[in-house]
């Protein structure tokens, strides 16, 4: 003790106290700081956001603005959420080739990892619908529950979707060159995201008016109509009266007329028998 007090006036005493204090603060911080995992996560997240921001600057900013705030050529992306990015880029709609009534689906040029980075960046601009997980969109693999989902989904599809996308999901025409695309061969995830986010002119069907389970049922129905064989054989595009009527008039009536001509032409009067 004596020794300590004797050295109290030592010129290095202040330094020692400072070091001790620093060590204590550091120790306390280490003890009470947020869990390590969260730190690692957010840094990976911020890494993705950074990467996404770079991809965004190259691929998207010319229309949507450097910070995704939107320009006269493209809408603001604040609050559209990662689901919208995953859908638009994942189906090749974005980046758009050219402005027009509707941006068509085309070959996707981004890898899923890049899409996720872009989505992370856009999601960081404002809260919005989050990219769904397979449990959310994948229909049940159990035959019985799947059949139930298909039946319920069919009913929901006819109420909410069939008016634009046709009773079989083959798509249809809208105004001024816009159209509802065919749902054939579309990923379950993308169908789910479209309902969630309402891409382009499609209205959205948020969870508040169409719960998650119902969206999954609709996906089950769409997949079923895509995969099932047609009981009648030739579907003629499953477009309904247009193609069926055309077929009936041209091939059905046409054949009857040809037969009638043949029967009438081969009479005895034509000197053939």
């Amino acid at each position: 003790m004596k020794k300590l007090s004797a050295r109290r006036r030592h010129p290095l005493a202040a330094v020692v106290v400072l070091l001790l204090a620093l060590a204590a603060t550091g120790g306390l911080y280490a003890a009470f700081a947020p869990a390590e995992k969260a730190q690692a996560d957010s840094s990976a997240q911020s890494l993705a956001i950074d990467e996404g921001k770079k991809l965004f600057a190259v691929g998207c900013s010319s229309c949507h603005g450097l910070n995704g705030q939107g320009t006269s050529d493209g809408p603001s992306l604040v609050g559209v959420g990662s689901a919208a990015v995953d859908f638009q880029v994942g189906t090749g709609r974005m980046p758009a080739q050219q402005p027009g009534a509707q941006v068509p689906r085309k070959k996707n040029i981004y890898s899923q990892a890049e899409i996720d980075q872009l989505a992370a960046y856009v999601a960081s601009l404002g809260p919005g619908p989050v990219t769904p997980t397979p449990e959310q969109y994948e229909p049940s693999s159990n035959d019985v529950t799947n059949a139930e989902q298909v039946a319920k989904g069919g009913e929901l599809f006819r109420t909410n979707c069939a008016q634009c996308h046709n009773f079989n999901g083959k798509g249809g025409a809208l105004t001024n060159g816009k159209y509802a695309p065919s749902l054939e061969g579309v990923d379950a995830k993308h169908i789910y995201e479209a309902m969630q986010t309402g891409p382009q002119n499609m209205p959205s069907f948020p969870d508040t008016t169409m719960p998650e389970e119902q969206k999954r049922e609709i996906v089950a129905f769409v997949r079923h109509t895509n995969d099932e064989a047609s009981p009648g054989g030739l579907t003629l595009g499953s477009l309904g009266p247009v193609t069926e009527g055309l077929f009936g008039w041209i091939f059905g009536l046409g054949t009857l007329i040809l037969i009638a001509i043949w029967v009438a032409a081969h009479t005895t009067k034509a000197k053939k028998s």
């Binding site: 008016q163 634009c164 809208l174 816009k178 309402g198 002119n201 119902q214 081969h266 005895t268 028998s273």
Partner: protein
């Protein structure tokens, strides 16, 4: 004899008269040529067998139809070359019925062509009107008849006869009246008319069967609704929903161009009738960016941001809009019916 045909024609049946004096003379009918089956008895027998064969095939096909109906499983799918994967039952039924019908027709045609009499029967054309003698005679008779009946003189008989003739068709109208009730006032009201200030009706989501709050309806979304209490199990559900169906959209209040329409809505939530005002198709091809709703039947287009004004197509008037608000618990409600009848125009429609 006929003035239309040259004299020589009748004498030699079917022989053309070639006259150098008159290059445009009627060539007459070509000579009759017998068919093989007319002269060769063996050929006739063969044709007979062919016809019966077709009828027999038809019978077999019908039996095949019944057999496949009874034996093939309805769920069975098979691959058949140009058609792809088809239901075996559908294919079998269609083919057998088709063959059965076709063979009857083909047999009948073959019979008529080979075995039935094939003598040409010319039907000559003559002026349609009768000659003057006959006409004068008929007119004479009519006049005598009219004079004898006293039709022109006895006015009472004439008038009552005309009256009774005019009324007879009415019995037809009475009978046909049974085909349907008059619409009366049914087209004026929908299921929403039971709503009043004191007992409002909640708007129920068609998907979830739950009432909705304004915060459930996000901008750019589309929701279909029906009045609370209308159950799908109800006997008259289809008749009711054909008038009551709503489509609910939410538009930023600043984007709503029609002030009256904005007031009928609630914070930008607008509830329009789903029934097209042209001939009543359900319309709901809603484009969330342009706020246009398109009818798939004849392409009538309504601008939902502007009181559902018709901007294209044959529809005669805007979609009726239901006035909505919220109750104390915050659910969307209607306190009355549409101000005008929903659906297509009709004679007695007020406006």
């Amino acid at each position: 004899m006929s003035e239309n045909l040259p004299e020589a024609h009748d004498a030699s049946h079917g022989t053309a008269l070639v006259s150098h004096d008159d290059p445009f003379a009627d060539p007459g009918l070509p000579a009759h040529e017998p068919r093989r089956t007319d002269i060769d008895e063996r050929a006739a027998k063969r044709a007979e067998r062919q016809v019966s064969l077709m009828f027999v095939v038809s019978m077999l096909a019908t039996i095949g139809f019944i057999a496949s109906y009874a034996s093939i499983d309805a769920d069975k799918i098979v691959y058949i070359f140009p058609l792809g994967h088809v239901s075996a039952l559908n294919f079998a039924l269609g083919m057998t019925l088709g063959v059965a019908l076709f063979c009857i027709g083909a047999g009948a045609v073959h019979w008529a062509r080979t075995l039935m009499s094939d003598h040409e029967l010319p039907a000559e054309r003559h002026p349609i009107e009768a000659d003057d003698d006959v006409r004068n005679d008929v007119i004479e008779q009519f006049k005598t008849g009219a004079a004898e009946s006293g039709f022109g003189r006895r006015k009472m008989i004439r008038n009552t006869l005309i009256g009774s003739m005019a009324l007879v068709p009415l019995s037809g109208v009475v009978l046909l009246r049974d085909l349907g009730p008059l619409p009366e006032k049914k087209l004026l009201h929908t299921g929403w008319d039971k709503a009043t200030q004191s007992s409002p009706i909640k708007l129920v989501n068609m998907n979830t069967d739950e009432p909705m709050k304004p915060e459930d309806i996000v901008q750019g979304s589309l929701t279909f609704a029906k009045p609370e209490g209308l159950e799908e199990s109800a006997e008259d559900f289809q008749q009711q929903i054909a008038k009551d169906a709503l489509m609910i959209v939410r538009i930023a209040p600043g984007d709503i161009k029609d002030a009256e329409s904005r007031d009928k809505g609630f914070e930008g939530i607008l509830a329009y009738s789903k029934i097209c005002t042209h001939v009543g198709c359900p319309i709901s091809l809603y484009e969330q960016q342009t706020h246009h709703a398109l009818c798939p039947c004849h392409q009538s287009t309504f601008d939902l941001a502007d009181g559902a004004r018709v901007i294209f197509g044959p529809a005669g008037h805007p979609l009726p809009q239901l006035k909505i608000t919220t109750d104390e618990q915050g659910f969307l409600i209607a306190t009355g019916d549409f101000d005008e009848p929903v659906g297509p125009s009709y004679w007695e429609r007020p406006r």
